[in-house]
Symmetry: C2
Subunit: 170 residues, 2 copies
Amino acid sequence: MVPRPEGPQPRPHALPQTTEDDIDAVDEQLLALLQANGRASYAELARQVGLSAPAVHERVGKLETAGVITGYTAVVDPSAVGLGVTALVGIIDSDEVDDVGMLEAMSALPQVQDCWRTAGTEGYVLKVRVTDIPALEDTINALNRVRGVSRTRTTVVLSTKWEGRHGRTE
Amino acid sequence: MVPRPEGPQPRPHALPQTTEDDIDAVDEQLLALLQANGRASYAELARQVGLSAPAVHERVGKLETAGVITGYTAVVDPSAVGLGVTALVGIIDSDEVDDVGMLEAMSALPQVQDCWRTAGTEGYVLKVRVTDIPALEDTINALNRVRGVSRTRTTVVLSTKWEGRHGRTE
DNA sequence: AATGAAATCTATGGCAA
DNA sequence: TTGCCATAGATTTCATT
């Protein structure tokens, strides 16, 4: 371990560097507002950023067509709809197999809400949400049966402290 | 391992069992529609479920006050706003320490988008999104400096296959 | 990007089943 | 209790400047 006498002062965080189509300060404001409340009206957004509603409408439209905003969604409490169990499942893939087939098999399971391709001993990590522990067992069994999956490692989530936070808490 | 000669037919998935205030079929439809498009107008929703706009308005309002719908959010492509690196960070907590303090410290880092309390060797798993690898290093350093954190284990996400899927793909 | 205007939508109170 | 109707007020979304 590299010696670390005093806590190194953290690098000043790089601000989102312009990707291509420049996102100006107003756009960033709009993104923040829409992430906080995806149903905010254009009129409301206009008030907050100090532009007219049509101007906001156009900007948001551009953010959508540019693929910056990929959609809008209602955030639903999982337990309120019977999904009481969350788990993270690491997938240890056996050998070099057809990745496409594995992805198809995993995406066929609606319980798999998130799927990340990862570096490390686990080739994928999945976030799974199911009604109860037996359903989790079913899911693990199903995943282990997928061609190319050698083993899985499941971590049960005891509680979700937060999820999908956007706020640049500064 | 319990022998299981032929692929066990998966348990028929338990449908979301009524939590308390019963969520009927129309409510489920509304939830699905709003998860797919959080900005759908009440008029549009009304068309889709075959009710009047006021009726839909009332139902959605109830779902909100009941805490089933906890909010609405725009889905933003992270890389479009400069967040090019995603990682999952497992937190191995040292001993029995003040959990509240740890949570506060972790939530003070806006890069930590998700935070799950987990069973297993890792007491927490975090999903972190940052601009680049140096920023990831900073984050790992910051997390390791948190009182109560003994060690961290970071898994870099190579690509996000999907995230926040709701669709009961049936 | 602002203005103004027409079409649409929201949201409430009252009424019916 | 739940949904529908009517309506006043907002909002969206043009065309124009």
